[in-house]
Symmetry: C2
Subunit: 468 residues, 2 copies
């Protein structure tokens, strides 16, 4: 939730649209909870002094409190550590012979990370004093230290932590400096319930605990003993808000966007990808696979368009700027190699355009979701819900979503460009019966995992751990 000024200069609240916001606001609304977040806009910062904002949450009917930080400290916390160290380690994104390169700047950024995590822990402890029944839901890798810090301030607190991203295995975690690695693991071990998106990430965390002095991991029970307490490591795959998505897809803007998509595709087949412009999404290998597919199967030239719709992301981090350049170069290469009058093989669009995304979802014959590693990947859930052509999902085995959707998708090893090229061909050449069966399998799998159960199962597990 952010406060912004509208065109008339009035301060209004603007609510995030992601599944996470929906799931958490829903839960907070039921329980009369409080959301603590970092002030992001100038208007947010003006609200900080007011403390707990009771009315401010507007339609969501829950309270809100902002923490405000010095911009330099926040940048070190957010870009320096969260996005350039923790995001990279958990997605295995480093070029190990050359990067990372830890130094004094890393240590200073780490101090900022510790400071901001402590500020959250203190605010949570303070707010929790109002109620003996307080339950804490700590969200994501930016706040990895909060569970242990909060535990220290309130030893009997009920704390659940949820990791929205992958979790690296014990071997790759060795890349981190010892003090950082130890603080991260012990930070998480402060929780009662540690939630992950998928079995693979939970298993990586358990194996990491197995190698960790003083921790005892029980794989069968998915429990860890640590400092006399017992933690539950749980898998809570997040879902999407199916109804609001369907509602959004019939708005006028989307119908207008659909016309634009139609102008591009003509009567050709549509291969679609929708992603943040993000190193872990494996965009370049996706282009390589499409190029190999067109090279191998001349009969498809002129019969298919690949629309790659990327949302700009982290453009203040040099690795991302370089990567977006490589994506553009790959798209240009394919267009110049295969393109001809009346047919542009790739349409690369790098901008925020949610109506266009929704329109494209309804129309694809094949959706390529091939991240190198991905906590969950909600595109793999959104696409099948809106698609109206029994489109085929090509899905990376290393996306958390693979555990729920893999049986109805065409699986790919994201590093295997040859296999991905084959999967594109298989998707476009699949019989109608097969396509229909898979498409309805996907829709049912997504609908079966209701978003409103996501918080509730974590709360239930929290009760169970504390009572036995």
């Amino acid at each position: 939730m952010s406060f912004v000024r509208d065109e008339a200069g009035k301060v209004v609240t603007k609510r995030g649209t992601g599944g996470l916001v929906t799931a958490l606001s829903g839960a907070l609304q039921l329980s009369g909870g409080l959301w603590i977040a970092s002030a992001m806009t100038d208007e947010d910062r003006k609200q900080v002094a007011k403390g707990r904002l009771e009315e401010a949450a507007g339609e969501s009917h829950h309270d809100l409190r902002y923490l405000s930080f010095d911009p330099g400290t926040y940048d070190a916390f957010y870009n320096g550590i969260s996005n350039r160290v923790l995001w990279f380690v958990h997605h295995l994104l480093w070029d190990i012979p050359r990067v990372p390169r830890f130094d004094r700047a890393t240590r200073r950024a780490w101090d900022a990370y510790v400071q901001i995590n402590r500020a959250y822990a203190e605010a949570l402890a303070e707010e929790g004093e109002r109620s003996d029944e307080a339950v804490y839901l700590v969200q994501d890798y930016h706040l990895s230290l909060v569970p242990a810090m909060l535990r220290e301030l309130r030893p009997h607190a009920r704390i659940a932590y949820f990791s929205h991203i992958p979790f690296a295995d014990a071997g790759y975690l060795r890349v981190l400096p010892d003090p950082i690695r130890e603080a991260l693991v012990e930070g998480l071990l402060g929780a009662d319930v540690l939630g992950f998106q998928a079995d693979i990430w939970a298993a990586n965390f358990l194996r990491c605990c197995q190698a960790y002095p003083g921790a005892r991991a029980d794989f069968a029970q998915r429990k860890v003993r640590w400092e006399g307490r017992q933690l539950r490591v749980g898998v809570y795959p997040i879902s999407i808000d199916v109804e609001s998505l369907r509602k959004a897809a019939v708005e006028d803007e989307v119908r207008l966007a659909a016309r634009r998509v139609l102008r591009w595709r003509g009567d050709r087949r549509l291969l679609l990808r929708v992603d943040r412009a993000e190193l872990s999404k494996n965009i370049v290998r996706g282009f390589d696979a499409y190029e190999m597919f067109l090279g191998d199967r001349p009969e498809w030239r002129g019969e298919v368009v690949f629309m790659a719709h990327l949302n700009p992301s982290r453009s203040d981090i040099p690795e991302y700027v370089r990567y977006v350049g490589q994506c553009r170069a790959a798209a240009r290469r394919i267009n110049s190699r295969f393109g001809r009058r009346g047919w542009q093989p790739v349409h690369l669009s790098i901008k925020d355009d949610f109506p266009m995304t929704l329109a494209a979802y309804t129309m694809y014959e094949a959706l390529l979701v091939n991240p190198v590693f991905d906590g969950m990947n909600l595109v793999a859930k959104e696409g099948p819900i809106l698609n109206e052509r029994d489109g085929v999902l090509i899905l990376s085995e290393n996306a958390g979503a693979f555990e729920e959707l893999g049986t109805h998708a065409l699986p790919v090893n994201p590093f295997d460009v040859g296999q991905t090229a084959e999967a594109i061909a298989a998707a476009l050449e699949m019989s109608e019966g097969d396509r229909a069966r898979r498409a309805s399998g996907l829709r049912e799998a997504v609908e079966a995992n209701r978003l409103d159960r996501w918080v509730q199962t974590q709360l239930d597990d929290l009760e169970r751990v504390r009572s036995g």
Copy 2:
């Protein structure tokens, strides 16, 4: 062992000088064993037709048999898979957003790898028919499939496999295409004893088995159950041949080389590194750390030289050519930033020069061994044995040697350039008493692990597994 023509045109045998050759020839000599190897030289290939070469082994008093392969197949096996896929995966060397990129060429190279592994398994099975007591010692990642292939041909064979390099953990192994990953794991599981250089690699393998369908890993006992058999996962840190090393160090060539080293160093302190020019050795970050050290401590400028002695390696692989270029650039940068008349801060030498290496070993004040990941690293053992100045060892926590030598070394996280710069300063500024204590601790640790026990402990464990 290779056959080459000497200057007079006579065919002579040339024996490898590494610890592995020494350890294995010693064991084979005692037992009257047979060494099966790939023919590498033209002369080797001429010997292939003769089959088992009884006299050829010369001083080693064991038999030798060459397998000869079509050069294209051998290249695909050796460079295509062994050195560009398996070496990279086990040392975590890939730039995951971009490399690897598996395709048809990977599959063809993999077929060659399978073919050559099968040729080894068949030759071993055939040779083993002569004796019911045959014991097989399969060496390293080039032959990962041999244990299972040999097991199929001779179900009751006693097979030990030794991995000289690290072993990746389960998460990073997911980068490999499924069929390759499965073949590798099941290939190794064909052995009775699986040997690793260090606990960390054995633990990674055990965790990998834990995640592997059908395998059951027992961490406390270091055992794996697989297909009704029980395997032992053992740690057998390889050592060096201390006596021959000491003998080699007093040869005339070494004395001549020592004069050259002395001309460079003058009366300054010597920081030394000796490595193959290899991506995993972390040469660039080593230079970065030295640059940071000189930048932070002006009092050391002019008082120290860094000699980086690199043996050329894998120069037919583009990644290595690029990396060597980056090493040269880093050395040039430091020399142009800090160098002055009469003082060149870095001496980078990229050539095979064993006498020079030995001479430099005797003279360093600090030895930098900072690989990103390294199965063992024998430089960390050779240096302390020959050094005459109580030189300090700066040692990566991710080198297998760290488990034996870490308590006497200055430990570094190899990704932490800041910490490495501090370690260089600490090494050069350490008190004489401390230096002497550590140096003798290192020598004793190396001498305590006798090379001739390396094969014997594997054979003992093989007996133990088979008898109970």
